[in-house]
Amino acid sequence: MRTTFQDDLDLLEATLQEEGSLVLRALRGSINALDQRDHELADEVIAFDDDVDARYIAIEEGIQSLLARQTPVASDLRLVLAILHVNLHLERIGDYCVTVAKLSKLVPEVNPGPRFVEGFEEMGSRCEEMIRVALASFQNRDLAGAESLVDLDELVDRANRRIVERILDLGGDPAMREYGLRMVVVSRALERIGDHAVDIGEQIAYLLTAEFREFTDASHPAPREA
């Protein structure tokens, strides 16, 4: 048995899960900062990204060393490659949380009504669920769980479209228009977080089946069942 090698692999995967839990905290923080217009919290989320990045770099370095020294093959190789990709997806999700936090500080003093807070709360919660499902599916080597992310993402996409429609109804007041402009980007950031969670699911599927495939293909949409 290659015990050092197995320890290294276990450490990489544990660090990845830790990075995932940090990203979940960043996401919750950024949504709360937005809903409650809490600039202090927004700054915390922005600073917190360094913690996410530290895990990201630790995993990159760990993989570099592992590839150089242990030449993993077969399921070990697939695990290392999957961690490499999931690491990047989580880091990107962390960056989107920073984007949301930064935009929450730029919101003008307007009252667009509770529909927006509710809308972002819904999107944020759905994204949190997707990240949790992705992390748990990775940990449990759960293909069905990974594939379920596609349907969860559809709900995020719908929420995104609803928010965009509400923004279009905001009217012509300059402060409202500025608010709307910021919120389009927030909504888009959350929508992208959902996409990254689906991509994590694809990496889990690769790890388990050794097949490279996209769950959904934007350029060749599969006919949706009614």
């Binding site: 048995m1 290659r2 090698f5 030449t71 093959v73 077969a74 399921s75 070990d76 190789l77």
Partner: protein, 285 residues
């Protein structure tokens, strides 16, 4: 800049090259060896049993597996080298281009002329470099253009430039890596179709090993190569197809069996059998 001139090649590119390297198309495979139900016994001991596989022309096929799994025994069956072991008994069939090389009336010397072999330890004759390479052709009566033949073999073995000025020097004055390439030159001087390599680089340093591996890639154009190696990464680097053998223990008897035979890419990214997975990932035993 005229953008009209820009064309994106869609037929050849990294994707196609990668695909070709990954799995040589079965349609292009030309069977050289067809091995059926091969069993080898040394006295009361069964070395390998129930081996079925085909070896294809211009492919490098690697045999990997733990010590004692019978991979060397297997490769020795391909040119009747086991005939030299009195207690060895070979059952099943080894068809070389459709002809059973163990059939009555088949001359083992003729078999070995077509199917050459290189061993773990370089074993040049204590003669000159030239004579080592010329020996096979001389014995077989290929006396015409002997100098050219020696040069061709040494060039193919990537040794010519290093030895062309000292062909009359003793082969034993060469380094280990050079001696091994000399043995390859000696084997190909008689223009066999198949070259069997039994751990050809295990006694060599990394640079000499790398030279042998590069050489195998070059030789593939003209020969069919079968290599036995302990070094899994070597199989991963050089072979198109890889066969994994293991030892099966049943009723206190240990027998070598073929577990899995597939493209090297498949064996090292997603093997079908758990025993293969355990071996290539180092979780064996």
């Amino acid at each position: 800049m005229m953008t009209d001139d820009v064309t994106i090649p869609i037929n050849v590119g990294p994707v196609e090259i990668a695909r070709e390297r990954k799995a040589p198309a079965p349609a292009q495979r030309e069977t050289v060896f067809d091995i059926r139900d091969l069993e080898v016994n040394y006295g009361p001991t069964t070395a390998i049993s129930g081996v079925n596989l085909e070896i294809y022309r211009h492919y490098i096929t690697a045999m990997i597996g733990p010590s004692g799994c019978g991979k060397s025994t297997f490769i020795r069956c391909l040119n009747r080298m086991n005939d030299l072991v009195p207690s060895a008994k070979v059952e099943g069939s080894v068809l070389y281009r459709g002809q059973d090389i163990y059939a009555d009336g088949v001359d083992p010397v003729e078999v070995r002329r077509r199917i050459g072999m290189v061993f773990q330890r370089a074993n040049p004759f204590p003669k000159s470099i030239y004579d080592n390479v010329a020996w096979g052709p001389r014995v077989l009566g290929m006396r015409n253009g002997l100098d050219d033949r020696v040069e061709r073999a040494l060039t193919s073995a990537a040794l010519w430039n290093e030895v062309k000025d000292r062909l009359k020097k003793s082969a034993l004055s060469l380094s280990g890596g050079q001696q091994q390439r000399l043995c390859i030159a000696r084997a190909i001087a008689i223009e066999p179709e198949v070259l069997l390599l039994d751990e050809p680089a295990s006694a060599l340093d990394p640079i000499a090993t790398s030279a042998i591996e590069d050489l195998m890639h070059d030789l593939k154009k003209d020969y069919t190569l079968v290599i036995v190696t302990h070094n899994m990464q070597q199989a991963a680097r050089v072979a198109d197809l890889t066969a994994f053998f293991t030892l099966e223990v049943a009723e206190g008897r240990r027998t070598g069996v073929l577990v899995e035979y597939d493209s090297t890419d498949k064996i090292f990214t997603n093997p079908s059998d758990k025993r293969t997975e355990d071996y290539v990932t180092g979780r064996f035993g």
